[in-house]
């Protein structure tokens, strides 16, 4: 656990995430297009989009431009902090006090930034969007928290390098709670990364892109970037928590295997997103309530040692 070796590890993690996130998003768009029987945009399209948005004029409008700026930069900042913290097979993550709890806190903060953005705009569309986002956050964030807590219960510690290393499977017998948690997380993963069938807040056709209505130019670029990075970060946490086996490989291959697993998860997300329709907010909440019951059952099982 060298403190000095941690810093380049965190930096390389962040830079890799920044470079790779639009590429994964481009692959997502291309595969969605192929499933819809058409030739989609080139894989590098999100890079072009972000560069073009950076070159546009920045119109500050809405109720409160200062909150707009704050919300935008805060969302990308929380995601990049998580990129430094989550272990991506490169180096030991930083293990200061309150590790996994910090991760849960940062995840929730990232979703709250969307709320701030919608409030700053103040138009009717954005207010509807953030009310739906609020309901979704209340139903979703506990699921992730329970997943991490189950891992912590089994590993008897909250340190990140222990919890984020497949700790849900660390029971003496058959890991029942681990399997239940994997099922719950897979079923609700689409909602975390804001893709169909659960992209209620970003519903383009219904509420004109919801909270992002008043953003233009560079701020919109940062927001879109934050959404792309969210997909990568959540996939990385999922892989680190539930699929950590690295087959005993050495350094460069371990890292590539990690990113391959993340890529496979992104492909799975794409396939589900391309073949489903959007759920209404009340249908989605009912679905998450069912998943919450299953998660609480898993928590009970974990506390009894199963």
């Amino acid at each position: 656990m060298d403190t000095i070796a941690m810093i380049p590890g965190g930096l390389i993690n962040t830079v890799t995430v920044l470079i790779v996130a639009p590429f994964f998003h481009g692959v997502l768009r291309k595969i969605t297009a192929r499933i819809q029987s058409r030739q989609g945009p080139p894989i590098w399209q999100p890079y072009f989009d972000l560069l073009k948005l950076l070159g546009k004029e920045d119109i500050e409008s809405g109720e409160s431009p200062r909150t707009q700026r704050f919300a935008v930069y805060l969302s990308l900042a929380t995601l990049l902090t998580m990129a430094c913290l989550v272990p991506m097979e490169l180096s030991e993550p930083s293990n200061f006090a309150g590790d996994s709890i910090l991760l849960i806190y940062l995840l929730t903060l990232c979703s709250i930034c969307t709320l701030l953005a919608g409030l700053a705009a103040g138009s009717a569309y954005s207010l509807v969007g953030i009310s739906r986002e609020m309901m979704t956050i209340i139903a979703l964030e506990p699921l992730f928290a329970i997943a991490i807590v189950v891992g912590a219960i089994h590993a008897q510690s909250f340190r990140m390098d222990v919890v984020l290393n497949g700790s849900v499977y660390l029971t003496k017998g058959f890991p029942w709670s681990g399997l239940v948690m994997v099922a719950v997380m897979l079923l609700s993963f689409q909602a975390f990364v804001q893709r169909l069938p659960f992209d209620i807040t970003e519903a383009e056709t219904e509420i004109m892109e919801g909270p992002l209505v008043e953003y233009s130019g560079p701020k919109l670029a940062v927001f879109k970037y934050a959404q792309m990075v969210k997909l990568v970060i959540y996939s990385a946490i999922f892989v680190a928590l539930f699929v950590p086996w690295d087959l005993g490989l050495t350094f460069p291959w371990k890292w590539l295997l990690f990113w391959l697993k993340v890529f496979i998860l992104v492909l799975l997300v794409t396939l589900v997103a391309a073949t489903h329709a959007r759920y209404r907010i009340d249908q989605a909440i009912r679905y998450f309530a069912g998943l919450m019951v299953a998660a609480v059952v898993a928590l009970a099982l974990a506390s009894y040692g199963y």
Partner: protein
């Protein structure tokens, strides 16, 4: 909504392959009954202005600078490609071509202007008979297809009456 249903859906779509037309790379031909841009043939036109009379959008404008010359101008801005001009023309001088790739940066690119010498009457030697005083009243100023009033054509009739009907909106008047 079952998982198998979704798999079947995906496989059906993937089997369809790529249905996108490679349009700008390969030219696309319009179907045989397509009415595209009208092309005016000056060699066949006799200058009767039947097309101008019949155009529902007042797109073909007529002007007689002197006794023997008639100018017919097709503006191309609001043409709806209905084909009435081609139907009415007695000499079949207008053809509705199959041309649809007409996007342009300046709308004046679509205009076609014909200046024609009209043939004279065998008996009196003039192209048109001199209109009576009543007919002169009817013809000046109120003919909507007069080329001299081209710049008025794009306004609604409220402007022709002399007072703008909308004062709160910034519209440029002539």
């Amino acid at each position: 909504m079952s998982i198998m249903g979704k798999f079947k859906e995906t496989i059906i779509c993937l089997k369809a392959g790529r249905v996108t037309l490679p349009y700008p790379a390969q030219p696309q031909i319009a179907p045989p009954t397509f009415r595209g841009r009208p092309i005016f043939d000056a060699a066949k036109c006799i200058g009767c202005a039947g097309c101008a009379n019949n155009c529902p959008a007042r797109e073909i404008l007529v002007f007689d600078p002197c006794q023997e010359v008639r100018i017919l101008k097709y503006l191309g801005r609001r043409c709806t490609y209905c084909g009435r001009c081609a139907d009415v023309c007695p000499e079949k001088a207008i053809t509705m071509s199959k041309d649809f790739e007409t996007g342009t940066g300046s709308i004046g690119d679509l205009q076609q202007q014909l200046e024609l010498f009209m043939s004279t009457c065998q008996r009196c030697g003039r192209c048109f008979k001199k209109p009576s005083v009543l007919e002169q009243l009817k013809m000046t100023g109120y003919r909507l297809d007069d080329l001299r009033d081209e710049r008025w054509i794009f306004r609604s009739q409220s402007y022709l009456e002399g007072e703008p009907l909308v004062d709160d909106i910034r519209i440029e008047l002539d």
